[in-house]
Assembly symmetry: C2
Homo-oligomer: 400 residues x 2
Amino acid sequence: MKNTTITAPKGFLAAGISCGIKTSGKKDLCIIACPTGATAAGVFTTNKVVSAAVILCKKHIKGSIIEAVVVNSGNANTCTGKTGFKNAQIMCKTTAQLIDTKADKVLVASTGIIGHQLPMEKVSRGIILAGAQLSNSTKAGNDFAQAIMTTDTRCKQAFTTVNIDSVKITIAGTIKGAGMIGPNMATTLCFITTDIAISKPLLQKALADAVGNSLNKLTVDGHQSTNDTAIILASGLADNKPIVKTGTQYKKFAAALSELCTDLAKQMVLDAEGATRMFTVIVNGAASKADAAKAARAIANYDLIKCAIHGGDPNWGRIICAVGDCGAKLILNKLSCSIGNSIVFKNGQPAKFDPKKVSKIIKQKEHTVTINLGAGKHSAFCYGCDLSAEYVRINADYHT
Amino acid sequence: MKNTTITAPKGFLAAGISCGIKTSGKKDLCIIACPTGATAAGVFTTNKVVSAAVILCKKHIKGSIIEAVVVNSGNANTCTGKTGFKNAQIMCKTTAQLIDTKADKVLVASTGIIGHQLPMEKVSRGIILAGAQLSNSTKAGNDFAQAIMTTDTRCKQAFTTVNIDSVKITIAGTIKGAGMIGPNMATTLCFITTDIAISKPLLQKALADAVGNSLNKLTVDGHQSTNDTAIILASGLADNKPIVKTGTQYKKFAAALSELCTDLAKQMVLDAEGATRMFTVIVNGAASKADAAKAARAIANYDLIKCAIHGGDPNWGRIICAVGDCGAKLILNKLSCSIGNSIVFKNGQPAKFDPKKVSKIIKQKEHTVTINLGAGKHSAFCYGCDLSAEYVRINADYHT
């Protein structure tokens, strides 16, 4: 079978193993290596409290070449003070030694419980074990995708190719995250590899734009985590004419990357903690772009709407209530709402609709809620999911 | 038994009956009457989408004297357009006819499902039926308290007395609300009666201050409703020297009213949809009053914290994550957190604590979470409750 994992683009090796951070024995440590060196770009959480891994990763990614990424799951290495920062440094250093490079050429990410120190003996042993398994096989890519998971029920990967100057470029990515998802500048952990040759500033721009229209447009519970990190590594081994300008070739790559990120974002919402279905909120007629985004996110985060969607209940009054309370400008006698293709509220008045039909729409795997604020010409969208009793069950005893 | 309901203060009659808005046959229509006329004050939702009842009530309350309040539950009369507004007018007019007064001397409030027209034949018949039962009895007060309930599992009332110039003043109140609770300027439906003689501006000030420190400091799900209304009626029949200045006597009354509202607020949090326990968030060390309030409310509204509290789980990392993401200024190496009297995070470092002891604290009916942002001298508090699977169950099929 064709390799469609992060080891598919030329130049990348990966490994994922269990080192014992997770008491379940599931995979919890993994590495991507690019021995020829990769141009790297990243976007990170804007939470004021961040993981030691985020602090160190933001520092290292400024360098011109990155040769590896080391990641652990099961422990966020957040709120862990100086010891936590030292541990993140050790993770980079141990990984660097494996591939005969310097610690500042290694990126690091962590995800899991906040406030606990990493079991460093296990982690260091794990890095060495993973190093011995580095491979460009499909299995290695899948192992990596599995090792970044926390409460995810399945591993999430995406793959695409695009022709740039008649050269085939491959892009592959993997993502984790099921709860504490309400990204602002990035979301959860996401790792993308590609063999394109591209300048660092343009790689950064392409990533930020792609994430802005995909991962940043989804919410599970409105909670931006302390560890959100999205990284892309470009090996340049596809041998295209290096992209250094925002012309046609850049646009082709950016579009392919954006599509890949949207694919990953949707996989994530559908695997959200306890979620049984997703919905897309589209807000039109806003007085500003910010108002549109605010309203879309408010609806996607509104517990009572999420509960109603879980119950397949066309309780549109909650949508209007959320819109009224979100702070966005609205003209009440122009305010309208549709669920799927059924208008439920039009120009400030309730509309006649078939509740059974709308209930069926809501019970699909995906549906769309469209709002018109009647206050301007701006639009925005956001992906959300339903809120189930299972979300509560998962999160009532995640710690103990 | 002593009457401690809203009919206890001199001058008030009440009634509460079932008119058939609720399919369950439970009480859903009620009236307070003050035939000698009352000074009235009120605070209302700041949601941009409001009930027709709120629009009309805000208009009528500007008048000098109020003689009645009519309330229905089971239907919010919100998003109901012109018909809804006409129906609110009919409710006031029908009530006014009963007690031989004008419609603009009657206040109106509604609560329940959004977006459905009131069944006005039932409502009008119900108002006449309730009018025939108006009484100053304990039963009448209890009937009123029951008739305003929606998903509340019990009716919530409070009573207090205070001496003003050697005259005994009685204050009594009742409140409803269990979900869609995240008040900004007022909360849900709350009706308070008192026999004090006081000027309208001072009654308004006392109510706004009391609500600001009680009902506005609680949240169930962060959702400010479209119908929030808190009203106080003062008959003046206690025969105290009328209060027209903010001196000692005013302060005594204001303190008693504030205590009564706090009592009602706590009853409401403890009866929140699916809630099994409440918690008080205290934020100290904030750079501004607004920052303190923002952080307190962010913690009280954070689903993952509410789930952990439901599970009795000392997962303090989620508290720090919420604080970091709420926008309030913080100094990380001064940031601290306690659960009950146990310090779990101190000056940016995890503290050693006994998880079993902290779990016990969390599992109490009430506990306190204290945060110090290390950024200034301002403080604020907020009441919150846990998030249970029962909340989801209630709200997944409230409509259908």
